[in-house]
């Protein structure tokens, strides 16, 4: 299978380079454009599976570029990066034809998760079971077992585990958890503490007494669910 091609339009070269390297490590093939004009030229002349677009670009803004591309009938999913997060800005972006947006500064794992979600869009079939290593989660009966032991989880812990499992192999940031599991749109510190406490408890139930740990902390970034070889 060929690797998926992503166009990254970002004028800040340092950020562009970091994102390019990070996304290439996720085995996407990345093309970088540093201005709206260049981005528009490439998106209208080459096939891409997705575009990541900064709003504040020199010359032609990301929004203008996006509207122009949409007018040309380019239908690929577009993820906007924006430094402003007022409601008007979001509406403007989504109206111009963006599929999703992310506010700077963002956590890199979140960018990856959004890209995966956009690429997956419309092709998903409902998942009824999740598993990793010897951990089994039945999403219908909500029964969680590890090996032969059955784990008793609270509702929050179950939701947390489900989210981690759906993103297994990828790092999940606290911001993603706050938004997706706790449904909080505002970022603030108390929630980070709350997430940490729940995570400690979940980890105690899932990993305590087992030699192979499934939940890992990535310092300064977030959490990772992965079965060690």
């Amino acid at each position: 299978m060929r690797s998926l091609r992503i166009l990254l339009v970002e004028d800040e070269r340092k950020v562009a380079k970091a994102l390019q390297e990070g996304l290439e490590a996720e085995s996407y093939s990345i093309a970088v454009a540093h201005s709206g004009e260049e981005g528009f030229f490439r998106v209208s002349s080459e096939p891409f599976d997705l575009a990541v677009l900064d709003i504040m670009l020199p010359g032609r803004s990301g929004i203008e570029m996006l509207s122009a591309a949409r007018r040309q009938g380019i239908k690929i999913p577009v993820l906007l990066l924006t430094a402003k997060d007022t409601v008007e800005d979001r509406v403007l972006g989504l109206d111009a034809g963006a599929d999703d947006y992310l506010v700077k500064p963002f956590a890199f794992p979140e960018l990856c998760a959004r890209i995966r979600a956009l690429l997956r869009r419309g092709k998903g079939t409902p998942i009824l079971n999740l598993e990793i290593g010897d951990l089994q989660v039945d999403l219908v009966t909500r029964i969680v077992t590890r090996g032969v032991r059955r784990l008793e989880l609270t509702t929050k812990e179950f939701e947390l585990l489900e989210y981690l499992l759906r993103h297994q192999g990828h790092v999940v940031s606290r911001e993603m958890l706050a938004r997706e599991v706790w449904k909080m749109s505002v970022r603030h510190t108390p929630l980070d503490n709350v997430i940490d406490v729940h995570m400690v408890r979940l980890r105690r139930k899932v990993d305590e007494g087992f030699s192979k740990k499934l939940i890992h902390t990535v310092r300064g970034v977030g959490f990772l669910m992965k079965a060690e070889k």
């Binding site: 606290r174 749109s185 970022r187 510190t189 108390p190 980070d192 310092r219 300064g220 970034v221």
Partner: protein, 484 residues
């Protein structure tokens, strides 16, 4: 081009407008006078013409061979309109000329027959003769000795036009000095009226960011200019206050931002100084990322405050039942209290409602509760109470802890931005010094208030007071509870 010709000063523009309006009014007045005069003189002329035509009719007769006879001896009767010798033409019913007097010479008076001329009624119109002479023409058909005959009588209108021209010229001649006088007067008045504005402008020009304390002199508080000056002074006052606030806020914010930045920098520099293992580098990068997360949260809070200051956050109010709403926040933060072995209770009126923005109210309650948990000792007690005031107009949400309390000197400043009672400990606990400032703003934006009550030296109570939803409907003593 026109734009460049536009006079720059209001004073000149006012004067020009004034003069133009006056000139316009006078011109309209003059023109209507002239028109009225013409109409009046014409109607006098018409009267005379009717008299004359009747006289002339009596002087006409036909000879037996059909020739028209005109007894012109009427001139001997010292006719009063002698000076207005009429022009005269007599025609048959099919337009053949029977008589034309010497005054007309070979000019035709009115040309061929006009429709209606042979109806027997008086017909009056103004015409131009072939040599350009303006003439008032009266015609009437008579039956003279059995033959229908048309008599046309014309009077020159030249003297009439002459008189109206004279009137107009007279008026115009008077117009110029009047306008000059009015212009001078207007200029003087405008200058007097605008003088104080110029003085104000000069004074305002000297006011800059460093001298915001200066104020304008108010000469008379009750006239328009006094109102302008005092409005301006109020604006200056607000500007001065917000400048002060901004200055303090900027310096505090820079200080706060510098702390995590310093950490990032020094951790990075030290990490690079010596070669380490991959694990060492991971440690260094992780630590830098943690600081950047703290930085992000600080910037988010600063943005919230900046937007609140700019009035950009408009609460999206809905009706919220307080107890279940607060219970939700409590259950969110419960785990934090559990970790510290604290008991967290909530009770109170379970039907009372407020009109509030859910997201803002949640943030306020979260901040208050988080503070209480953070600063209470392990095993302490935290209580949330929802109380309706005695007059049933407001709802108080109290968050009480039995922690160390807040020492008296700090109590006034506790809601200030970046103010901390114990700097080291607060930072340790992850606080950024903005939680209570944001909470206070959140209370005020709903028309409520946030206050700190410290009944004893141990523990404190933060009380959030919000207007009760539907409070206008009057009191309902059955649900009213008094709070201290």
């Amino acid at each position: 081009m026109i734009k460049h010709l536009r006079p720059q000063s209001v004073r000149t523009r006012l004067t020009l407008w004034y003069v133009a309006v006056l000139a316009g009014a006078l011109l309209i007045y003059g023109a209507s006078t002239a028109v009225l005069l013409i109409f009046q003189l014409r109607s006098q002329l018409d009267h005379r013409a009717v008299e004359d035509i009747e006289t002339i009719k009596g002087l006409l007769s036909f000879s037996p061979d059909g020739k028209l006879l005109f007894r012109s001896n009427y001139q001997d009767r010292s006719y009063p309109t002698k000076m207005l010798d009429p022009l005269m033409e007599v025609l048959t019913e099919n337009g053949t000329l029977l008589y034309r007097n010497e005054l007309l010479g070979n000019r035709s008076l009115g040309g061929s027959l006009q429709p209606g001329e042979m109806s027997g009624a008086y017909l009056v119109r103004s015409i131009l003769l072939s040599d350009g002479m303006r003439v008032r023409l009266l015609s009437k058909q008579y039956i003279l000795e059995g033959r229908p005959t048309l008599i046309r009588l014309g009077f020159s209108e030249e003297s009439l036009w002459q008189r109206s021209r004279e009137v107009v010229i007279g008026l115009l001649a008077g117009l110029l000095p009047v306008l000059v006088f009015a212009g001078l007067g207007g200029y003087f008045l405008a200058r007097r009226a605008l003088g104080p504005i110029e003085r104000m402008a000069r004074r305002v020009r000297d006011i800059n960011a460093e001298r915001l304390s200066a104020r304008l002199d108010v000469e008379n508080r009750h006239d328009e200019l006094g109102f302008l000056a005092s409005t301006f002074n109020d604006t200056l006052g607000r500007l001065e206050r917000s400048f002060d606030q901004l200055r303090r806020f900027t310096s505090d914010a820079s200080h706060e931002l510098r702390t995590p930045l310093t950490a990032i920098r020094s951790v990075g520099e030290v990490g690079l100084q010596k070669a380490g293992t991959a694990e060492d580098y991971r440690e260094v990068i992780g630590s830098m990322l943690e600081e950047s997360v703290r930085l992000t949260s600080l910037v988010d809070s600063l943005l919230t405050i900046a937007r609140a200051d700019a009035g950009q956050i408009k609460p999206q109010c809905t009706t919220i039942t307080v107890l279940p709403f607060a219970r939700e926040v409590v259950s969110l933060l419960e785990v934090l209290a559990e970790e510290k072995g604290q008991s967290l209770s909530i009770d109170g009126n379970d039907t009372v409602q407020v009109e509030a923005d859910g997201a803002i109210l949640r943030q306020v309650l979260t901040n208050l509760l988080d503070n209480a948990i953070k600063y209470s000792r392990t095993g302490g007690q935290i209580a949330v109470r929802i109380i309706v005031s005695a007059d049933d107009k407001t709802v108080a949400i109290e968050v009480e802890d039995n922690g160390p309390g807040i020492p008296t000197p700090h109590r006034d400043k506790i809601f200030d931005r970046f103010y901390r009672v114990d700097e080291g400990r607060s930072r340790e606990a992850g606080g950024n010094g903005l939680g209570l400032a944001i909470a206070k703003w959140g209370a005020e934006v709903h028309g409520g208030e946030l206050e700190l009550l410290c009944p004893t030296d141990s523990g404190c109570v933060f009380r959030l007071v919000l207007p009760k939803a539907g409070a206008i409907n009057g009191r309902d003593p059955s649900v009213a509870t008094t709070y201290a």
